[in-house]
Amino acid sequence: MASHSPLQFKDRLFFALVAAGGLVVLMGLYAAHMMEVHGHIITGMNNQIVWGIPHVFAIFMIVAASGVLNVASIGSVFGKAIYKARAPLASLLSIALLAGGLTVLMLDLGRPDRVIVAATHYNPTSVFAWNVLLYTGMFTTVAIYLWTMMEQRMNPWSKPAGFVVFAWRFILTTGTGLIFAFLVARQAYGSALLAPMFIVLSFAWGLAVFHVVQSAIYAWNGKTHTPEIVKRMKNLLGIFIIGALYLVAAYHLTNLYFAHQSGFEHFILVDGGIYPQLFWWGYVVLGNLLPLLLIVYPGLGKTMSVIAASMLVILGGFALLYVFIIGGQAYPLNIFPGYEVTSSFGDGQIGLYQPSLPEFLLGCGGLGIAFLITTVSVRVLNFIPHDKPYIAGQASTD
C-alpha cells in the first residue's frame, strides 16, 4: 500500500487543483453575472476609460496564446527536435489561453447575450470582425495541428499543419495589434508599429508562460530539466525580451520625436502617476532587466532563475498592457489642438480609473479557464515533452 500513497496524494492534489481552478472560474462567472444585472456601473470603467482590467487580462492571454506557439513553430517549421517534442504542449496552451482570453472579452461586452450577433451581422471593414474569424481559425488550425501530432496516422501532415499555424498566428497577432493601430485619433495608438510590436511581445510572453507551465508539469511528474534544453530555451527567452524591449523603445522614441505627441509621452513616461511607475518599475525593470539578469548573469540561469525570469516577464506583460490600454485612454483626446479645454465630459482632463473587484474576478476567471483546460488535458492526454534519446542521454528518466 505504501507504494500507492504518493499516487493517491497526486490524485487528491489534482482534484484539489481542479476544484481551485473551478472556483476561480465560478467567481469570474459570478462577476460577469453581476455586470450583466447591474451594468458596467459596478466596474471602474466609464465613458473615458472604456476598456479596463478585463481587456488587460484578455489581451495578455490572446497575445500569449499566439506567442506560445513559437515553441511549436521552431519544432515543425524549423525542424528543431527539442522544440518539436514540446509542440503538443505549446498547442494545448495556445488553445487554453485563447479560450480564457476570449471568454473574458466576451463576458465584458455590454450585451454578452448577443455575442452570436457578431457572427450573424458581419461588418467587413471592422478589424474586430476580422479578429472573430482569426480567433475561430486559430482554434481550428491549432486543433488540427494537435491532431496531426498526436494521431500517428496523421503524423506526415504535422509539418504542413505546423506551417499553417505558423502563418495564422502571425496574422492573428497582427490583427490584435491592428485593433489599436487603426484608432486614428488617439495619441497612444494609431501606429503601424503596433502590429510588429505585439508580435514580438507575444514571443516573449508566450515563451515565459510555456516555461512556467512546463516547469510545473516537470515538477508534478518528478522530471528534471535537461541543462542543455534549459540553456537553449532561456537564451531564446533572453533574445525575445531584448526584441520586445527594442520595439517598445522604438514606439516611444518615434512618439517622442513628434512634437504633437510629446505631451502624451511625458504623461506615460514621467508625470502620469501610476502609469510611469508601472512602465519603468513594472515593465522595464521587473519585466525586462531583472529577467535578463537572471538569465545571463554568470552563475544564474539555472532552472529556478529561468522560472523566476519567466514569471517576471509575465508580470511585466500585465504592467505594460495596463499602461498601454488604460494609460492610453486616460490621456485626453486632442480634439482642439492648441486650446486648453474643459467640459462636463472630461475634455482636457486625465481620465480617472479605479479598477473594481468584479473586473479582477472576471480577468482571473479567464486565467482559471486556461488553467483548467491545461490541467485536465495534461492529466488525460500525453502532453508531457518527451525528448529524443540523443538529447535525453543527458536527461533524467523519461
Binding site: 466609464n46 457578431a118 471592422s126 486614428v184 488617439r186 492648441g338 479645454v341 467640459s343
Partner: protein, 238 residues
C-alpha cells in the same frame, strides 16, 4: 321586401360598420408607425453650422433641450450619458476664450462605422450617424475610435425611456441629430432651443438651403479637419 331581407341588410350594415370601427385605429397607427413612406435619400445631407461667436458663455440651453428630448438624466458623472456637452476653449497662445456645443459630428467617413464589428454603428443615406440598438453588442470599440469623444455607454439599467428614442443598457449611444424629429420635418431639439439661433440646421447638399448659403459666405471649420472625415457639423469662429 321580406322580413328576412331587411334583417340581412341590417346585419351586413352593422358588420361593415363594426369592421370599419375595428380596423380604422389600427390603420391609423400603422400609418403613424411607418411615418413617411419614402426612404431617406443621399440627395439630402443633414448638417449644422454652429456660430461660436453667438454661443453665450454659461448658457447650456441646447444641452438641456437635448437631455429632455432624448430622455437623458442630465447627470454629469463619468458614467452618465452626455450626447451633447458644452466645451470651454482657451487659445494657449493668445488667451482668447470661446465656448461651443460638442456632439457627434456625423462624419461622412465615420471611424465608428468602420470599426463596429456588427455594423450596428451605421450612417443613414442622409448622413445621420446612428447606432442600431438591436445589434450593438456593447464592445465599445466605436468609443475608442471616435475622435470627438461623442459616444456614451449605458452603464446602468434605464427607466422611463422616450418612445421615440430607444436606448438600452449595455449598448453605446450618441447624438442622433434628433432623427425622429428630422423625419417629421422638424429641427433637432438643440437647434430649436438655442436662444441666439447659433445652431443652424439644414441640408448641406441643397445649394439653396440657408446653411449652404451661409457656408459659402462665412469661414467655417470642421473639428479635426486634418483627419479628413468630412463632418456634418461645421463651426464658425474657431
Amino acid at each position: 321586401m321580406s322580413d328576412t331581407d331587411v334583417q340581412r341588410r341590417q346585419f351586413l350594415k352593422t358588420s361593415v360598420g363594426a369592421a370599419a370601427v375595428a380596423i380604422a385605429p389600427g390603420m391609423l397607427l400603422f400609418d403613424m408607425a411607418h411615418g413617411k413612406s419614402e426612404a431617406v435619400s443621399s440627395k439630402v445631407r443633414w448638417g449644422m453650422l454652429i456660430d461660436t461667436a453667438n454661443c453665450a458663455d454659461g448658457c447650456d440651453d441646447c444641452v438641456k433641450a437635448c437631455n429632455k428630448e432624448n430622455g437623458l438624466s442630465g447627470g454629469l458623472s463619468p458614467t452618465d450619458s452626455q450626447w451633447m456637452r458644452k466645451v470651454e476653449l482657451k487659445d494657449m497662445r493668445s488667451g482668447r476664450t470661446l465656448a461651443l456645443p460638442m456632439m457627434c459630428q456625423h462624419c461622412a467617413e465615420p471611424p465608428c462605422v468602420d470599426v463596429c464589428p456588427t455594423g450596428s454603428s451605421f450612417k443613414r443615406a442622409d448622413g445621420i450617424v446612428l447606432v442600431d440598438k438591436h445589434i450593438c453588442i456593447g464592445c465599445r470599440y466605436c468609443m475608442m475610435a471616435c475622435p470627438y469623444k461623442a459616444r456614451s455607454f449605458v452603464h446602468e439599467p434605464l427607466h422611463d425611456q422616450k418612445p421615440d428614442v430607444p436606448r438600452g443598457k449595455g449598448t453605446v449611444e450618441s447624438c442622433t441629430m434628433c432623427v425622429h424629429r428630422v423625419d417629421q420635418g422638424k429641427q433637432p431639439a438643440c437647434a430649436e432651443a438655442c436662444p441666439n439661433k447659433s445652431i443652424l440646421f439644414g441640408n448641406l447638399n441643397d445649394p439653396e438651403s440657408e446653411i449652404s448659403k451661409k457656408i459659402r459666405t462665412v469661414a467655417s471649420t470642421q473639428i479635426r479637419a486634418d483627419l479628413g472625415l468630412n463632418t456634418g457639423i461645421r463651426y464658425q469662429g474657431i
